[in-house]
Symmetry: C2
Subunit: 352 residues, 2 copies
């Protein structure tokens, strides 16, 4: 599909590795004074001063993490930065730099990589991070992107996963389940397209959930908001794998239990209507969907007044003693054990 | 070939991503007090204190950068760390942490990844770096490794590529050309093996150059040695692509020229004898071979007495005015322009 979109194709082998990196990164600007040296030496140099450095890395593989038949390369570039920044924000830190490494087969023309880097640049501009390095190499098959994100935080502001306490409130930003359902819509349309390539689908009614899948936003605003509200979470994690598995991470690492309330899980109207269309429980979708890149955190009970009215935040439960286990309290007020890969196992529980 | 080596095979899908990372990294110890948080949260946390942070990343792809038919996985793990640490040392810095991300197809059993991580651990132990994070995911085909290395240095100690001066001496550590010839031997033996799998080759006479290819060592000792000698290089780069292309990088970025003396290029006896065997010029091999991971640097003339007798260092030339260009002075005292991808073009020049 890539090939068809570009009337003009330039082979990447024409440029060579150094020429390619130079070409793709020439429009990137350094925004942070902490970036002493960016691209162009054996390594980048950063001055974290009195802050602690935050480091995270994620690898995205074609046809495992993304499908280029419906994922525009510009969006892919953007998303590959977002999934990493999200991890930095989940430490209650500020993202400051990234490195981007790609392995790419010859079937990609230069114009395709320019699109990819346009998305990366858009993310860098909007989220104020500096591209400081990377590696570009050939692959035998497909496209693979590794991003390492760096950030900074004062030691006292950093929030880990393993420090939630019993009785803390469980809070989530934004709404859940959209990215997963967006993917279902895109997969369905891909099948329709295969049968009838002339079909022009009207996807307006799915615009929000498709955007959640194709162009997720990392919650840069949440650490900033929490600072303004003078709330330091007791523990925090980002939601890349679905609510239930992230709650289980928080609980296990913090050695606490949890009660999650089904009726408190924030859902967009499109998530509710599309779940119905696919004959899925929207709760199951939110619990197991993944890729929402919202932040899940715990706060002390006394912080309740500071966050209760905030439109960006939903209180969805509270932590308990470890011995009480991890449960979902359904709308019908029954208690169901939370399961990590909730999809199948949870479906079975619902039928009980 | 992987499959045949392991009588007992455990599928990696049995463990799941989190189980896999935990299993592979459970024996890694944190050595640096600067590593506040390693593996196990959304991101790692590092305290660089008053030092500057050094960041570099490299990506190795199966059948592009390595061939598992003769590269043992343990060596591959080791080498993937070395190529990154080399970039940190080339900044005259100390390597302190790494992240390792792998994309791997299901054809690799768990035991294969354990071998890979045994090599990574050996590198971490020997070079005193902490494994602080990474990502493990599936690939459609083959194995791919991305390592990001972090290091630290005092600002005044950091050495860039673009600060060489005219009249500086050009110095290289160790000897050159071995890794490339080691690869030629391994490729030749692979072809022999294809024809006659019963053949047991005697590779003793190539042991040094094969080790240079399969298990290169990054020059951790060189920044330490230079500190002891009280020499601060004026510019430095590591030799991953062959001497001539690295000299050209140094010259172009520093806006200087260079005279490189053919008779000063350090060569191991195995490099000389194997070059003869392959009917290659050992100078061409050293200039264009690559993967030696030695350090190339420039020092002020007044530092000559401090380095002249050192067995680890060879003075191979001197920098000139930019207008004088970049040249090799041959044993026959003729002046040949240095070329970046020297292999073919240089061969032509020699015939002139």
């Amino acid at each position: 599909m890539i090939e068809d979109k570009n009337p003009q194709r330039t082979s990447i082998s024409q440029l060579g590795e150094f020429g390619l990196i130079e070409h793709l990164t020439k429009n990137f600007e350094i925004k942070h004074s902490s970036t002493i040296k960016g691209i162009g030496d054996d390594a980048a140099v950063i001055d974290f001063k009195d802050k602690k450095a935050i480091v995270t890395t994620d690898l995205l593989v074609e046809n495992v993490h993304f499908d280029l038949s419906y994922m525009p390369l510009k969006h892919l570039g953007y998303k590959s930065v977002m999934v990493n920044l999200s991890d930095v924000y989940a430490m209650n830190a500020k993202a400051t730099q990234i490195t981007v490494s790609i392995a790419v087969s010859n079937r990609f023309p230069l114009e395709a990589l320019e699109e990819l880097y346009a998305g990366i640049k858009h993310a860098c501009d909007l989220y104020e991070v500096d591209l400081i390095g990377g590696d570009t190499t050939s692959s035998n098959k497909g496209l693979l992107i590794t991003v390492t994100a760096l950030g900074e935080a004062n030691q006292e502001d950093i929030v880990y996963r393993n420090t939630a306490k019993s009785n803390d409130l469980l809070v989530v930003s934004g709404d859940l389940g959209g990215a997963y359902l967006g993917l279902q819509i895109l997969e369905r349309e891909k099948e329709v397209f295969k049968v009838n390539p002339q079909n022009q689908p009207d996807l307006d009614m799915y615009s929000y959930i498709i955007e959640r899948q194709l162009k997720p936003e990392a919650r840069k605003d949440i650490p900033e908001l929490l600072k303004k509200l003078e709330v330091k979470p007791t523990a925090m994690i980002d939601i890349s794998d679905g609510l239930s598995s992230e709650i289980i991470h928080l609980c296990k690492q913090s050695k606490v239990g949890c009660n999650l309330y089904e009726d408190k899980i924030p859902l967009d109207p499109q998530v509710i209507s599309t779940s119905e269309e696919f004959n899925l429980s929207s709760t199951t979708v939110a619990l197991s969907g993944g890729e929402d890149y919202e932040l899940l955190f715990t706060v002390a009970q006394e912080d309740f007044p500071k966050i209760k009215a905030n439109p960006h935040l939903s209180i969805i439960g509270h932590m308990t003693q470890e011995s009480e286990g991890m449960h979902l309290i359904t709308r019908a007020n029954t208690k169901i054990p939370l399961q990590a890969r909730g999809w199948n196992s949870f479906e079975e529980n619902e039928k009980e």
